[in-house]
């Protein structure tokens, strides 16, 4: 079976700094992720997980190696096209919420659509739909600042899926939450994966979260040391 992977890392290297101070955060990482998969990237703090995610999400360029998106070499994507690809294909959940505190929840959620140039009425409709999906429709008019931590994380997830991306990148999505709220957020993400077939790439310390994913990629000192596939359920 030769399916094209939705995302493929080919010998990715990323070094910071020059000369004596140079530091290799990624030292030749290769793997493939297929449409609809849930992949956990695990490893100790400082091992290079976030760096890897940034490179995969085309926010950072690798020092060498390539990232392929549905078989296309992304090194050829530049400027406007690259921005468009990122806007259309990816949804982001970061280590911090990164919400604009004084803007409304709805405005925060529709940010990717605003950037894409979607007309206001359509933005509203799609934003409300995403919020409804996360049971936050009643908070649409509230200021983002006035929400609880769990609610904020759900807003962030709503923002990540409002543009109907093919891949959601989540960097420690539950890192800031207590275990119960964390579990709820996890459930939402996996439910999305099951229902819409969205590909999940989750960076996490959390073993139980990693265990729920189809696959675990273990990173140590910038290298992929282990790739375990969960027994097909």
């Amino acid at each position: 079976m030769t399916r094209t992977p939705v995302l493929a890392a080919r010998d990715l290297r990323r070094s910071y700094g020059r000369g004596q101070n140079s530091f290799d955060a990624l030292r030749g990482v290769s793997f493939e992720i297929f449409e609809g998969e849930t992949v956990a990237i695990v490893g100790k703090s400082g091992s290079g997980k976030s760096t890897l995610m940034h490179v995969l999400a085309l926010m950072d360029e690798p020092t060498s190696g390539t990232v392929e998106l549905s078989g296309t070499d992304t090194r050829r994507l530049r400027g406007r096209v690259l921005n468009k690809v990122r806007n259309r294909t990816f949804g982001f959940v970061f280590q911090q919420f990164f919400l604009t505190p004084k803007a409304t929840v709805l405005d925060n959620v529709t940010l990717p659509l605003t950037i894409a140039g979607v007309p206001r009425s359509e933005r509203r409709a799609r934003g409300m739909a995403a919020l409804a999906q996360l049971e936050l429709a009643d908070k649409a008019r509230s200021k983002a600042n006035d929400l609880s931590g769990g609610q904020k994380q759900r807003v962030v997830i709503a923002r990540a899926l409002v543009n109907q991306p093919r891949i959601i990148f989540a960097d420690e999505p539950t890192g800031n939450l207590d275990s119960t709220t964390g579990a709820i957020v996890e459930d939402i993400l996996f439910q999305l994966n099951r229902e819409t077939g969205i590909t999940l790439v989750i960076v996490t310390h959390d073993e139980t979260l990693a265990a729920r994913c189809d696959r675990r990629l273990v990173i140590r000192d910038g290298e992929l040391v282990d790739e375990t596939r969960r027994a097909a359920a």
């Binding site: 926010m59 921005n83 990122r86 604009t100 940010l111």
Partner: protein
């Protein structure tokens, strides 16, 4: 991101940090307010000067006098030789003696290079003016030159017809027994003039308008007569003189090409000088005055612009802080695919909007303050200068001020905006 969204976002970002925006807007406000007032002062005074110029005469006209043959040294105390053609010109202490122009001189002037037309200025010296119900009052009467106008308080301008018409200065309305300027229009006045044989002639004329006494109305504080009336008065005055004796003029007006350059005008003056005449343009008469006003307005404007420059640094500072604060937001938007150009646009638009707020408020308040101030002053301090609006505003210069302030604000915003545009999304997101 669509342009409308970009502008909307920039505007709402402006109000995110209200105190900071307010302070920056205030700084710009001070600059724009001052600039509007000072330029309004320039506009007001220059408009007044322009009106005055129109009163004095068209810009293609020169007043010509004949130089005295023997240049008399004004500081000399030696007895002066008699010159039968000498005429006193000017009034008050600044009198100068010039030689009268004869018809021959007029003909000679017409042949000088650059002169299109020569008109002798006829001067009449009436004894008094009166109405049936009033006492006689001393008056001076002058004609109008082509292109001259007067600021009318009532009625209309005199015309070139055969009727004897005059414009009455406002100060004569009361004393001649009229209840108002409107009341005077259409009334008949009698002018008395004495000829060379000491015989007094009475001539009736119709008041067609009442003129404000501006600094330089055609006749100063006197009445303005149309050609028909001037001729009638002149004929009366010249009764008993031979033609040769009558046709003597203190000065003549010379018309030159209305598109003449400064150099050509200078050449013409030199030609006149060589032929023994002195030419004075309207600009010469008012030149020093305008130069002083322009100088003052320039200095005031310079102060206002310095204030605006200081405010521009305020904008740089405000936006740099804002870029710093929003580092992660910028990183996030870039990660989500917002291009650098749009990020630049977002911040420079924010700067431009701050500039717009400051300048719009400044301009509006300055116009209110300026209008109030000039109407207060024209009723008191400047009451003797009717027609002067000390601070006047014209839409073009107001628009220029607003646009210029917005341009300055935009320029000030480019530095922070470029910094935001350059920001790398990954390091912005890592920023604590």
């Amino acid at each position: 991101m669509k342009t409308t969204d970009l502008i909307g976002t920039a505007v709402s970002n402006t109000f995110r940090s209200k105190t900071r925006t307010l302070l920056t807007v205030l700084a710009i406000f001070v600059g724009a307010f001052t600039l509007t007032l000072t330029s309004g002062l320039g506009t007001g005074i220059n408009a007044y000067i322009d009106d005055t110029l129109a009163g004095i005469g068209a810009s293609d006209i020169m007043t010509v006098t004949k130089n005295a043959d023997t240049a008399t040294d004004p500081t000399s105390t030696e007895p002066e030789k008699y010159d039968p053609d000498a005429v006193q010109s000017g009034v008050g202490p600044a009198t100068t003696t010039v030689t009268a122009l004869t018809p021959d001189d007029i003909d000679e002037l017409a042949t000088i290079d650059g002169v299109l037309e020569v008109t002798p200025v006829i001067s009449v010296t009436p004894d008094y003016i009166e109405t049936e119900s009033s006492d006689p009052y001393v008056v001076s009467i002058a004609g109008v030159m082509e292109g001259q106008s007067a600021q009318l308080a009532a009625g209309s301008m005199i015309d070139d017809g055969d009727d004897l018409e005059l414009l009455l200065p406002t100060s004569y309305v009361d004393v001649l027994g009229f209840s108002s300027a409107e009341d005077a229009v259409g009334a008949t006045v009698t002018i008395a003039i004495t000829d060379n044989e000491r015989e007094q002639h009475l001539i009736d004329a119709t008041i067609v308008g009442v003129a404000d006494e501006t600094l330089a109305s055609p006749a100063g504080a006197g009445a303005v007569a149309n050609d028909a009336l001037t001729d009638a008065l002149f004929d009366a005055q010249s009764t008993g003189l031979t033609d040769e004796e009558a046709d003597r003029y203190a000065q003549a007006t010379v018309r030159f090409a209305d598109d003449a350059t400064d150099d050509e005008i200078a050449d013409l003056k030199q030609n006149l000088e060589d032929a023994g005449y002195t030419g004075t343009t309207v600009e010469d008469q008012l030149g020093a005055f305008t130069a002083v006003i322009d100088g003052i307005v320039f200095v005031l404007n310079a102060f206002a612009i310095i204030a605006l420059l200081a405010a521009a640094f305020g904008i740089v500072n405000t936006l740099l802080m804002s870029v710093q604060e929003r580092t992660r937001e910028i990183g996030l938007m870039k990660a989500m695919g917002l291009g650098s150009g749009k990020v630049f646009g977002l911040f420079s638009l924010e700067a431009t909007f701050i500039g717009f707020l400051g300048s719009a408020i400044g301009v509006v308040l300055a116009m209110l303050a300026g209008t109030a101030l000039s109407s207060a002053l024209s009723g008191s301090l400047l009451a003797d200068l009717p027609g002067l609006t000390l601070i006047a505003f014209d839409p073009a210069s107001i628009a220029v001020i607003i646009l210029a302030v917005m341009a300055i604000a935009f320029l000030a915003g480019t530095l922070p905006a470029a910094r935001a545009a350059r920001a790398d999304p990954v390091s912005s997101l890592r920023y604590e």
